[in-house]
């Protein structure tokens, strides 16, 4: 019997296996092992975490494949890596080295100011960021098999992650209450493919797994996003920019499993050491914000 690879079910399926889990940014194989030991469901292999990208400035690109390969060798869990928005050759390279998921990410400097990658033509699945339902459904229309709300990466401030999760989930609730004759106009207004609007309405959720990202720094932040209704969380700078990464990583993993149990959340939040310092988003000049990248 013939095996079919790279079907949408298989691409979307890996994201389904990550649900209820934490995906952690790592910059070395040692970090990757700490993340795996702490219970991460996957790691994002990077040269610099978003907080450092923000601090260093300059053009942020795909990481050196050598580093990504070393991280892939270090752990048994899935390894993701980022390419620039619209940079389909970086994506081809990441597919060639065999990463498990590609994040077409606004955290890197965009390579195309009008178009995202046509993700249908790849065998490897993609995750993309969004700030609202229209952006999420456009990315799925292009072939993304997983969505994450963007938040504002590298800040340790969860406010944008909350804003984006509320926007997506709130628009889905509004969509469900809408009479059928309003759906085409709604699709036009949010710039989303009509068929995906219909599918989202009948499912009552996005047609793919939806994680939260950008600014999550504590177990309480992670549980907040879970209670708002996302399927899991990405933690970028929040772990390895904190005082005791192994401990904080394990605590965030437990908080995502027991996100509705305040007694367990209190227990795992104790004695975690210094959190990442963080930057209030309201103090960052508009031009330095990265969530607005992506179209």
């Amino acid at each position: 019997m013939e095996q079919q690879i790279a079907t949408f079910a298989v691409k979307k399926g890996l994201a389904q296996m990550l649900k209820g889990g934490v995906i952690m940014d790592v910059v070395t194989p040692e970090h990757a092992r700490i993340a795996e030991d702490a219970g991460a469901v996957a790691v994002m292999a990077l040269e610099r975490v978003p907080a450092d990208i923000r601090a260093n400035g300059g053009v942020a690109r795909m990481s050196d494949p050598e580093l990504i390969l070393k991280i892939m060798d270090a752990v048994s869990i899935p390894v993701m890596a980022k390419c620039r928005i619209g940079h389909f050759v970086e994506a081809q390279i990441l597919e060639a080295i065999g990463v498990d998921y590609i994040d077409e990410s606004e955290v890197l400097t965009p390579a195309d100011e009008a178009h995202h990658i046509n993700k249908h033509t790849f065998k490897v699945p993609f995750v993309c960021g969004c700030r609202n339902l229209g952006e999420a459904l456009r990315r799925i229309g292009e072939g993304a098999a997983m969505i994450r709300t963007k938040g504002e990466a590298g800040t340790g401030d969860v406010v944008e992650a909350v804003r984006h999760a509320r926007a997506v989930l709130g628009e889905i609730r509004r969509l469900q209450a809408m009479p059928e004759e309003e759906l085409m106009t709604f699709s036009k207004e949010i710039g989303a493919p009509y068929e995906l609007v219909l599918e989202t309405r009948s499912l009552g959720r996005l047609p793919v797994v939806n994680f939260a990202a950008g600014g999550i720094a504590t177990p309480a932040d992670a549980a907040l996003m879970m209670q708002l209704g996302v399927d899991g969380v990405f933690v970028g700078s929040g772990i390895f920019k904190s005082g005791d990464p192994a401990r904080r990583a394990a605590a965030i993993v437990k908080a995502v499993t027991h996100y509705r149990d305040p007694y367990i959340l209190a227990e795992v939040s104790r004695n975690l050491g210094e959190p990442m310092v963080g930057r209030q988003i309201s103090s960052i000049p508009e031009a330095e914000l990265i969530a607005g990248r992506g179209w």
Partner: protein, 202 residues
């Protein structure tokens, strides 16, 4: 019938949706006390290292072993790894089934696939003998089956992807990602075989 789904991490909500479609009372299991009054338990797909670590941290390993000694458990993918005696690397396992598994046996995500399988055991719940369309995601293989464990399904090359040992079931693939409920019905059949009658209402 009341079935628990281990909800530490993974695609437990897909299993829950399938069980609800089959009119089963479902309980999410995150702590040992959630195992009380259950007729069976499903361990979902996910990351087996994460599920194992959380099971250790929340004191679930021994209670799950005791549960599996006389009640039905089904593990899909990561769940099958967790049920096994040996996964060829150090990680927490329930060691309930006499199977050895190889994690990520097909390689990385790019090698994940769908394929039709012949599963004669499904005729216990459906006489049609239709092939079973299975979804494999970074799947493990069952390398060896010993003792009372027996093979339920193999790929064309003979490699084992499903096994049963009395009231324990392991599948490398994900019936919860499809619309085909035959594996869930097979599991409910297995759970009813070993079910202990609850006190009848007065």
């Amino acid at each position: 019938m009341r079935i628990g789904v281990l909800a530490l991490q993974g695609d437990f909500s897909e299993h829950i949706a399938m069980l609800r479609r089959l009119q089963v009372d479902v309980v999410q299991v995150r702590l040992p006390e959630h195992l009380e009054q259950l007729d069976g338990l499903i361990i979902p797909g996910g990351e087996s290292t994460t599920i194992g670590k959380l099971a250790v941290d929340f004191g679930l390993i021994e209670p799950l072993r005791q549960f599996g000694a006389h009640k039905a458990i089904w593990g899909t993918c990561a769940g099958a790894i967790f049920l096994s005696r040996d996964a060829r690397r150090p990680q927490p396992l329930l060691e309930l089934m006499d199977i050895t598994v190889e994690r990520n046996a097909f390689g990385r995500q790019i090698a994940s696939f769908e394929v039709d399988l012949v599963v004669p055991e499904l005729q216990l719940v459906d006489p049609s003998a239709q092939p079973y369309h299975a979804v494999f995601i970074r799947a493990p293989l069952i390398e060896t089956v010993r003792g009372e464990a027996r093979v339920l399904a193999q790929l064309d090359n003979g490699r084992i992807v499903a096994a049963r040992q009395r009231h324990l079931l392991a599948t490398s693939f994900h019936p919860e990602l499809t619309d085909d409920d035959r594996f869930h019905r097979l599991f409910l059949h297995m759970a009813s075989e070993v079910r202990q009658p609850r006190a009848a209402p007065v």
